[in-house]
Symmetry: C2
Subunit: 166 residues, 2 copies
């Protein structure tokens, strides 16, 4: 008898907690992650301000990725980027990472214009490393999927901090 | 024989894909969501720029929540806020939402200083609604868990857009 009562109670609790939670009319959604597919195991900053703060306090360079979720060039780079172990490991251990789908108001982050995909490095001194460029003269901070080794060598450049070069 | 071969191949694929993926030394992490616990079913903007853009283009007011993950006042408000069906439904249907753990450079978002938790409404005309305040004279944009009904009435105020009042 007692057992049956407990069962009924449990069912009631389960039903009420399901009914109690807000569900959109279009059905339950899967919450978006800060990684947006660029590396689920990395700890992503949410905003540029947050990225700068972490970069300064941890003395690690910041990588900012500008992309768009429905841009095929961004998607192609993201696939190679997120599956490359060397990139993911190096970013996790030596970098602060941020990916943005909207431009910031800071013009230093678009040295030669606003386009995607675009990867900008920022030194812990809060200096944008406009000197670390990709392989294309017309879009100096763009990378193709085939440029992944070039990107890795640029990450090594960014790891040589400006302060230690003085 | 064929079946056994297929099985071996499947195992090999499974093993290699596990070995192939980057895992931090401290173990696998659960990716952070943009909601940070303030409502997993809501579609959160990532940055203030993104929130302003959505607000303007959808003609819906923007709610900005400033909080800290290890602040007990933020946590207490978050619990009540995320479990309140009326708030979640209204936000989902009539608002653009953004939660931030770092301050922005825009001083309009801290009319009486930077503290958490703090809730600021922004009109689709990109005007900060400094007139929509909570119940505390010393921290005008703070809310306690017991102020949830007051917050709901403030959301109704924010829904009366500035343009339509002219």
């Amino acid at each position: 008898m007692m057992k049956a009562l407990v069962s009924v109670l449990l069912v009631l609790v389960a039903v009420s907690s399901t009914f109690g939670k807000y569900t959109p009319r279009t059905g339950k959604r899967i919450p978006k992650t800060l990684s947006r597919g660029w590396g689920d195991q990395l700890i992503w900053a949410q905003t540029y301000e947050e990225g700068l703060y972490w970069s300064r306090s941890r003395n690690k360079p910041l990588m900012v990725i500008f992309h768009l979720e429905d841009c095929p060039h961004s998607q192609a780079l993201k696939k190679v980027f997120s599956e490359d172990n060397e990139i993911q490991k190096t970013l996790d251990e030596d970098f602060v990472v941020l990916n943005l789908v909207y431009e910031t108001t800071d013009k230093h982050l678009s040295p030669d214009g606003q386009y995607v995909p675009r990867i900008i490095f920022v030194d812990p001194t809060m200096t944008v490393r406009a000197d670390i460029t990709g392989r294309y003269a017309n879009r100096m901070y763009a990378y193709e999927p085939s440029d992944i080794k070039y990107l890795i060598s640029n990450m090594q450049k960014a790891k040589k901090l400006l302060k230690s070069e003085l």
